[in-house]
Amino acid sequence: MSLEDAFADGPAFIPYLAAGDPDYESSLEYVEALERGGADIIELGLPFSEPVAEGPTIQNAVVRSLESGMTPTRFFEFVEDLDVSVPLVCMTYYNLIYRYGDNSGPRPFVEKAADVGIEGFVVPDLPAEESDPLREACDEFGLDLVFIVAPTTRGERLERIMQQVSGYVYVQARLGTTGAQTSVSDQTDSSLARLSEYDVPKAVGFGISSGDHAERIVRSGADGIIVGSALVDIVAAGHEDGDDPGTVADRLETLARELKEGALSGASQRPPHSERT
């Protein structure tokens, strides 16, 4: 599967932006800037009106994107209009997947996603217990289904998730919701330790905002880093200040590069035994 391939050549840098934030055209430019900055996979948010798993930063991005007219149909056009070559993961809530097309289940959405070239999904309100229909559709169309593993996920639950996951596992660095933090949680290390026996790439997200964070996380054994809020902050600030989209795109590229380099630097410092085989 193509997502897993993105981890083949070293640590993967996986940035997130909400599609259509703050408007369709700027957003295209911003996502493309992420690739220039070194993204290995890009998580594209399809905004849902009730983003219960998000922190305020991404919640506000969702509001901006919805106000600019983003819909599932526009989202697929957006993906087609994007000029990037790295794999794209669609991050959204289950109701939008469930309701698309004939309103009877996830298959039409997955089919359309595959059609426009999306490689996988992250669905924060869909735990493994409820994911069979989506898993089946993903299998049918050859897409990955990424699951989030929380610091509180243990034992049977972890087992169940790891049976369902494909592409990569999204390791939630700490309890809470998405949002940039100034330090890295100790919970990350123990989560990575619990996951070490599973043979699937582990990408850590929640709260990574700088190259130093990225370096520290990858050094601890992560196969990839997921960064959302720190990037969305740049979009939000640019929008509020009325900055030229090109300038904002440059800032995104700059932070992306810092994060990517941090990840690479972290990988180079890893003790040999923690390398993936």
Partner: protein, 420 residues
């Protein structure tokens, strides 16, 4: 955890362990009365909550509607509504689970005040999330929560209403899940909430069923309750579900119209059972007010307590199977019923509750259309209406809305048009 296709547990992974822990506690303490939990709960409902509430014959309504109309007086519960039944149950359960902190969200403030009272009574810290806009509109309830020692956290994201407060509370729970219990205020959310809240509220129908036997020597022909999220509805119905001779009516807020403005994403009603479609919101699959893409629509009702775009999954299932009949009453009918009950029975109901009485008038009132005869017959001779709450909290709204709508049976409102 499933009611037909509805229900389930659609929540972020970080919350799943807490939900599993809660489910375990629900099964042990609530279903199996471990450590005498349910005895403790029932004793507190009695002594602190004021239960049992009466099943009162409404003399003047009985005359008006040509049948025996009985009122289940949840408005007399401590705090003024059925809300305490659930809040007290969950806060007590949290204590039994060893939790050290309670959080809840509130829209109009009724669930928040009930939770704050329960937390003061049970000596556990409490934080309530409330949209900034709701805080400004419901200041007496905010003050009450603070008087009871709760923190009230304003939520400024987005429009600053219930939906943002729910998200913010989920966020807090996801962050502090290990020592914190999130008290959900209705029969919504992921399993076990819909079942657990129903079980805590079922005391309403348990009492009403016994009282009906004592007072009338038989079961009622119909039970009528208003339905927003559905907690008073499920509480009023639960023990009657197996009684085939008793019809159950869930009265939704018809708002200004059942027509939907897809363009604006607005449903000017809260009639999820009548007009909603299947979807996933706030942890459960159920009937929702949503646009064709699956985005949740802004709902509306003159009663802020019914103003919610979803409905409890079990209630949705009972409507699908035909056991419960979903009907609706619009804003004008509800306001008129609010005034009618106040004048005829000396009970000022919550605007939520007024919807239930609006249905009686709609099908059995003196001005009911001829084609409602069949519905009136279906109600039978002995009708129980659940008076889910009292209207003290709604006085300001009643003034404003009555004046705007020119309700003909209302008292002269001129001197109150500037508010109270």
């Amino acid at each position: 955890g499933k009611f037909g296709d509805y229900g389930g547990q659609y929540v972020p992974e970080a919350l799943m362990p807490a939900i599993e822990e809660l489910n375990d506690a629900y099964e042990r303490y609530v279903l199996n009365n471990e450590d005498g939990f349910m005895d403790d709960f029932r004793a507190r409902l009695r002594d602190f909550g004021g239960r049992p509430t009466p099943l009162q014959r409404a003399g003047r309504l009985s005359k008006r509607y040509g049948r025996e109309v009985y009122l289940k007086r949840e408005d007399l519960v401590h705090g003024g509504a059925h809300k305490l039944n659930n809040a007290l149950g969950q806060v007590l359960l949290a204590k039994y689970m060893g939790k050290e902190r309670i959080i809840a969200e509130t829209g109009a403030g009724q669930h928040g005040t009930a939770t704050a009272m329960a937390c003061a009574h049970l000596d556990i810290p409490c934080e309530i999330y409330m949209g900034k806009r709701d805080i400004n509109r419901q200041r007496p309830n905010v003050f009450r929560m603070k008087l009871n020692g709760s923190e009230v956290n304003p939520v400024t994201v987005g429009r600053g209403t219930l939906k943002e407060a729910i998200s913010e509370t989920m966020r807090d729970w996801a962050t502090n899940v290990e020592d914190t219990h999130y008290v959900i205020g209705s029969v919504v959310g992921p399993h076990p909430f819909p079942s657990m809240v129903r079980d805590f509220q079922a005391v309403i129908s348990e009492e009403a069923r016994t009282q009906a036997h004592e007072q009338m020597g038989r079961l009622p022909d119909a039970v009528i309750a208003c339905a927003g999220g559905g907690s008073n509805t499920m509480g009023a119905f639960a023990e009657f579900v197996e009684d085939d001779e008793t019809s159950l009516y869930a009265v939704e807020a018809g708002g200004s119209t059942l027509e939907v403005d897809e363009e604006a994403g607005v449903a000017p009603n809260s009639a999820s059972l009548t007009t909603g479609s299947e979807g996933i919101l706030h942890g459960a699959r159920t009937l929702l007010l949503q646009d064709r893409d699956g985005q949740i629509m802004e709902s509306h009702s003159v009663s802020s307590g019914l103003d919610y775009a979803g409905v409890g999954p079990e209630l949705a299932h009972l409507v699908d199977t035909g056991r419960v009949t979903a009907v609706n009453v619009d804003d004008d009918e509800a306001l008129t019923a609010f005034h009618r009950l106040s004048q005829l029975e000396g009970i000022i109901p919550a605007l939520e509750t007024a919807h239930a009485f609006g249905y009686l008038e709609q099908v059995a009132g003196p001005d009911a259309p001829a084609d409602s005869d069949e519905e009136a017959d279906d109600l039978g001779e002995f009708v129980v209406v659940n008076v889910s709450g009292r209207g003290d909290k709604d006085l300001e709204s009643a003034i404003e809305e009555t004046y705007e709508r020119d309700i003909d049976i209302a008292p002269n409102m001129d001197e109150f048009t500037g508010g109270l």
